[in-house]
C-alpha cells in the first residue's frame, strides 16, 4: 500500500509517507498512515473531518512532527534530485527547501500589503543598496499572475480581493517558490463553479509541468474530474488507495466505513402549510448607489424547505442578514405571520421565531473558546435568567438534551467549541436555535466544509424540523444540495431575485441559467470583485 507499483499515472515518486503516527493528548490523530505522491499527479486525500487529513498535511509542511514512521522525499535539503530518502521536516523553512508549498483554507496573506509584496513576503528582491527592489518585484509578480491567469495589478492591496483571487495569489506565491509538491486544503470550498473551473485548469497545467499535487476536497464529483489517485483516511488510518475513477458510493463507503443510504434524504411534504415568512420589495442600497439587493420578495410556508441559490456575491447572505435584523435595509418589509418585523432588530426577529445559522461558523456562529453549554444556550440567555440570575442548571439540562438529540461527538458539555470537528461545530450552531422557539431557520451554507456523514445528519435534522411544521430557508452554493433538499428553489442574480423553480423543474442547468442572468437594466454594471469582497467578512 505504499504505492510503489508502477501501474499508476505520473512520473517519478516525489514523496512517500510510511507508517506515520501522531498522537495528541487524548487523541491518536494519525495511526500508521501510508501515502505516496508522484510527479505530474493529482493525489486526492479523502476523509471525514477528524480523519487526520489536516494533521498529515501539517506534518508535510513542518507544523507537526511524526511520533513514528518516516517521510521520504526526492531531493535533499540542499535541493538535489537523487531519489527518495528520509527527511525531517521541522519547520516551514524545511518544507520550503524540499519544494513543498501548502495552501491552507485560511490564507497566509497580509491584507494591508499588495499582491506583489505578499507573493515575495520575506524574500523581496533587493537592490545593491539593500533596499527592496520594487520594480523587479512587481515585474516578477506580474509574470506569476499571468501564469495563474489572475487579472489584477501587482500593486493591488490583497484586502481588495475576493476569496477566489486570494487563492490565486496563494498559488502564485507557491509558484514563486518553485514548489514541486503543492498541497491544497479544500481549495474549492469557497469558490463558485466558474471559479472552480479556472482553478481546475490551473491545477491541470501544473500537473502537466510535473508538479505533484495533494488535493483535499469534500466534493466527491471533483475527484473524478481532476484526480489521479485517492488515498482514503478514516480515524487516522489510511484505509485504502484507489484510482480516482472509483464511483462515489464506493468512495463514501470507504470514507465512513459504512453505506450511506441516500445522500439527500429529503422527505417532501404532501402540501405546504400556511405562509410563515413573507418578504416584500426588500431593497438595500450599497455605498456607490449600487443596490446590494433590490426588490426581493418571496414567501416561505410552514413545513417547507426553500433553497436560495446563486453565485457568491449575488446578495443571498445580505438578504438573509436583513431578514434576521442583523443589517438594516432601505425599503420593503419582512412579515412573520402577517406582522411586520422591526428593521435591524435581531431580538425582534428572534421573538418572532427566526433563527440564523451564519455562513462563517467560526467567525460568526460560535464563541470558539467558550464551552459547548455556553454556546448552545447563548440565544436563550435571557429566558434562562430568573430574578436576575442565570439558571445554570436549566442551561445544562437543555444543552445536554439538544446535544444528545443532535448526536454531537464531544467529551462533555464543558469542552470548548474550538476543539470540535467542523460537522460537530455546525451541529452546535444549529442546536442553539433548537433551544429557542425557532419556527423559521435560515441556514447559510449549512454544510460548507463538512464531511458526508455529518452532512446527511444535518439533512435529516432539516427533515425533522419541517415535519414538525417548521420551515427552513437554505442558502447554499452546493447545487446538488440545493436541488436535493429544497421544495422550491429561489435563484438570485446580481442582487435581484431572478426566478423561482419548484423542485420538479429545478435542474442544475435551469438554476445556473437564472443565476447567470444579467440585471434587467444593464447599466448597473456590477464590479464582480467588489461584490465578492463584500461577501467575505
Amino acid at each position: 500500500m505504499t504505492g510503489v507499483n508502477d501501474d499508476v499515472p505520473g512520473g517519478r515518486e516525489l514523496l512517500r509517507v510510511e507508517g506515520v503516527t501522531k498522537s495528541f493528548p487524548g487523541v491518536r490523530a494519525l495511526d500508521g498512515v501510508d501515502m505516496s505522491l508522484r510527479a505530474g499527479e493529482v493525489h486526492v486525500l479523502l476523509g471525514e473531518n477528524g480523519a487526520g487529513k489536516s494533521t498529515l498535511i501539517k506534518m508535510l509542511s513542518g507544523a507537526h512532527r511524526p511520533d513514528d514512521g518516516r517521510i521520504l522525499a526526492d531531493g535533499g535539503q540542499d535541493g538535489s534530485h537523487d531519489g527518495l530518502h528520509e527527511v525531517h521536516i521541522r519547520s516551514a523553512q524545511d518544507a520550503e527547501r524540499l519544494g513543498i508549498a501548502t495552501i491552507y483554507q485560511e490564507f497566509n496573506l497580509v491584507p494591508g500589503l499588495t499582491v506583489a509584496e505578499n507573493i515575495f513576503l520575506g524574500r523581496q528582491p533587493l537592490t545593491a543598496l539593500g533596499l527592496v527592489d520594487k520594480k523587479a518585484m512587481r515585474a516578477r509578480a506580474a509574470e506569476l499572475l499571468e501564469r495563474v491567469r489572475l487579472d489584477v495589478s501587482p500593486n493591488t492591496p490583497v484586502a481588495e480581493l475576493g476569496i477566489a483571487r486570494l487563492q490565486m495569489v496563494e498559488i502564485a506565491k507557491a509558484l514563486s517558490l518553485e514548489a514541486r509538491i503543492l498541497i491544497m486544503d479544500e481549495p474549492t470550498a469557497v469558490l463558485t463553479s466558474e471559479e472552480v473551473d479556472t482553478l481546475f485548469g490551473l491545477v491541470r497545467e501544473l500537473r502537466e509541468s510535473g508538479v505533484g499535487i495533494i488535493f483535499i476536497t469534500h466534493h466527491l464529483e471533483e475527484i473524478g474530474a481532476l484526480g489521479d489517485r485517492v488515498t482514503v483516511l478514516r480515524d487516522g488510518r489510511s484505509v485504502d488507495e484507489v484510482p480516482a475513477s472509483t464511483d462515489e458510493d464506493e468512495l463514501i463507503r470507504l470514507m465512513v466505513g459504512r453505506d450511506i443510504a441516500e445522500q439527500y434524504p429529503r422527505q417532501r411534504p404532501e402540501e405546504p402549510g400556511a405562509p410563515l415568512l413573507r418578504v416584500r420589495g426588500l431593497t438595500r442600497n450599497g455605498p456607490k448607489g449600487l443596490p446590494v439587493f433590490q426588490d426581493v420578495g418571496f414567501e416561505v410556508r410552514a413545513g417547507e424547505v426553500v433553497g436560495l441559490a446563486g453565485l457568491v456575491g449575488a446578495g443571498r447572505t445580505e438578504v438573509a442578514r436583513a431578514i434576521f435584523g442583523v443589517d438594516a435595509y432601505d425599503a420593503g418589509a419582512v412579515e412573520i405571520d402577517g406582522t411586520e418585523l422591526a428593521r435591524g432588530d435581531v431580538r425582534a426577529a428572534m421573538r418572532a421565531g427566526l433563527g440564523l445559522v451564519p455562513e462563517d461558523r467560526k467567525g460568526q456562529g460560535l464563541v470558539l473558546d467558550a464551552s459547548l453549554q455556553d454556546n448552545l444556550t447563548l440565544a436563550r440567555l435571557d429566558r434562562d435568567t430568573r430574578g436576575g440570575l442565570v439558571d445554570r442548571g436549566a442551561q445544562r439540562r437543555e444543552a445536554a438534551r439538544v446535544a444528545g438529540q443532535l448526536k454531537v461527538r464531544m467529551s462533555g458539555l464543558g469542552q470548548s467549541a474550538r476543539t470540535l470537528s467542523g460537522g460537530n461545530q455546525q451541529k452546535i450552531v444549529i442546536g442553539k436555535w433548537l433551544l429557542t422557539d425557532t419556527r423559521l431557520l435560515i441556514l447559510d451554507e449549512p454544510t460548507r466544509g463538512i464531511d458526508v456523514g455529518a452532512k446527511v445528519e444535518i439533512y435529516q435534522l432539516i427533515n425533522e424540523l419541517t415535519a414538525a411544521g417548521k420551515a427552513v430557508l437554505m442558502i447554499s452554493s452546493d447545487l446538488p444540495e440545493v436541488l436535493g433538499m429544497s421544495d422550491r428553489v429561489l435563484v438570485m442574480s446580481q442582487g435581484r431575485l431572478a426566478g423561482e423553480l419548484p423542485a420538479a423543474e429545478a435542474t442544475q442547468d435551469a438554476v445556473m441559467e437564472l443565476a447567470l442572468q444579467a440585471a434587467p437594466d444593464d447599466t448597473t454594471n456590477h464590479d464582480e470583485s467588489a461584490m465578492e469582497g463584500s461577501d467575505v467578512r
Binding site: 442583523v326 431580538r347 440564523l356 451564519p358 460568526q364 467558550a370 476543539t419
Partner: protein
C-alpha cells in the same frame, strides 16, 4: 474581510498541544498545573523563607489591606477585559468619586449616605460615558478610557481645588479594623470579590461579557444587545472604581485628587496575572484576587527585605511578565 485572511499556520498552531519532552522539575510542574494560585503559594513560600516577619498574622493582614484597593479596581476591570475591552480610567475615576464624596459631605454638608451614593453614581456615570463612547461612538476602548483617565483626574482637581479634602469621620471607619483585628478594606475586598464572581458566573450581563469578549459577532447574532451590554459593563467598572476610591480615601482619612494615580496599571496587571486574556472571553474573579495578592505579597515582602523602591519596580515588572508567561505555557499544555 481581514478575518478571512489570517496567518493560517500560526492560527492553527495555537490550537495544538506542543510536543512534550520532559518539562522541568516537579516544582515548576505544580506551578504550571495550578496557575496563578500556584504562583501565589510559591511566592509566599519564598518570602516566608527569606523573612521571618512575613508569616506574622498582622503582616498578612497588612498584605490584605495593601491588596484591597488594587483588587477592588481590578474586579471592575475584569468585567471589561473579559468582554475584550480595556479600562484605563479606573484610577482617575476612583479619585474623582472619593473627591465627590468628601466634597459633598465635608464642604456641602450633605448627609454621609447621600454623599456616598453620589460618589458611587459619579463613578458609574463616568463608566457609562466611557461605555457610550466605545459602544455607540465606536471609539477604541483604549482611547475612550484614556480620555476618561484625563477627564476624571481633571474633574477631581477642579472639585477639590487641587488640595485634599477631609473625609467624613463616619466613612473613614472603612479604613479601620473590625473587632480590633479584621481590617475593613479586606472585608470590602472580599464582599466586592464575591459580587464580581456572582456577576461573572451567574448574571445575564456576566455571561454576555464572555460571549462578547469571545466573539462579538456571534453574540450579536444570538440576540445579545451588545451595545447596551457594553454600557453596563463599563458602568460596573466605574462603580467598582468608586468603591475602591472610597476605601482608599477612608484609609488616608482624606480624599486626595492625586490619589490612585497609575493604579489602573496595577489593576490590569492583577487581572492578567489572574489568568484573563487581554483578547477577551476568559477571566475569573478568584484569579483577579490572586493577581492582586501576588502584587501585594511581592511589594510587602520586598519591603521587609529592605529592597529599594527602585528595585521593587523592576521586580514587579519581572513578576508580571513571568506570571503571564507561565500562564500561557500552562494553557498550551492543557489543550
Amino acid at each position: 474581510m481581514s478575518a478571512e485572511v489570517k496567518t493560517g499556520a500560526a492560527a492553527e498552531a495555537v490550537g495544538e498541544a506542543p510536543d512534550r519532552d520532559g518539562f522541568g522539575p516537579w516544582f515548576s510542574r505544580a506551578v504550571l498545573r495550578n496557575g496563578p494560585l500556584g504562583g501565589l503559594i510559591a511566592l509566599v513560600v519564598v518570602m516566608a523563607v527569606l523573612s521571618r516577619d512575613f508569616l506574622n498574622g498582622q503582616n498578612l493582614l497588612n498584605v490584605g489591606v495593601q491588596a484591597s484597593v488594587t483588587a477592588i479596581l481590578a474586579f471592575g476591570v475584569t468585567f471589561v477585559i473579559v468582554s475584550a475591552g480595556i479600562d484605563l480610567s479606573v484610577g482617575s475615576v476612583a479619585a474623582l468619586s472619593a473627591t465627590v464624596v468628601a466634597w459633598a459631605a465635608s464642604n456641602e454638608g450633605l448627609p454621609v449616605v447621600v454623599a456616598v451614593l453620589l460618589g458611587l453614581a459619579v463613578g458609574a456615570a463616568a463608566g457609562l460615558l466611557s461605555g457610550a463612547l466605545v459602544a455607540y461612538g465606536k471609539l477604541p476602548a483604549f482611547i475612550a478610557t484614556l480620555a476618561m483617565l484625563s477627564v476624571g483626574r481633571g474633574l477631581a482637581l477642579v472639585i477639590s481645588g487641587g488640595s485634599p479634602i477631609a473625609f467624613p469621620a463616619s466613612i473613614s471607619k472603612l479604613g479601620d479594623t473590625l473587632g480590633g483585628w479584621l481590617p475593613v478594606p479586606v472585608l470590602v475586598m472580599i464582599v466586592m470579590g464575591l459580587i464580581a464572581a456572582l456577576i461573572l458566573a451567574r448574571t445575564y450581563t456576566g455571561r454576555a461579557m464572555f460571549a462578547i469578549g469571545g466573539n462579538e459577532e456571534a453574540a450579536r447574532l444570538s440576540g445579545i444587545h451588545v451595545k447596551r451590554r457594553k454600557l453596563v459593563i463599563y458602568a460596573l467598572s466605574g462603580l467598582f472604581a468608586a468603591v475602591a476610591g472610597i476605601v482608599l480615601a477612608a484609609r488616608l482619612t482624606s480624599a486626595q485628587p492625586q490619589a490612585a494615580t497609575g493604579y489602573e496599571l496595577d489593576a490590569i496587571a492583577a487581572v492578567v496575572i489572574g489568568g484573563a486574556s487581554l483578547s477577551g472571553g476568559s477571566g475569573k474573579a478568584s484569579g483577579t484576587l490572586i493577581g492582586a495578592l501576588i502584587l501585594a505579597v511581592l511589594r510587602n515582602g520586598l519591603n521587609l527585605l529592605s529592597v529599594s523602591a527602585f528595585w521593587q519596580q523592576v521586580a514587579t515588572g519581572l513578576v508580571i511578565a513571568l506570571a503571564v508567561l507561565l500562564d500561557t505555557l500552562r494553557r498550551r499544555s492543557a489543550r
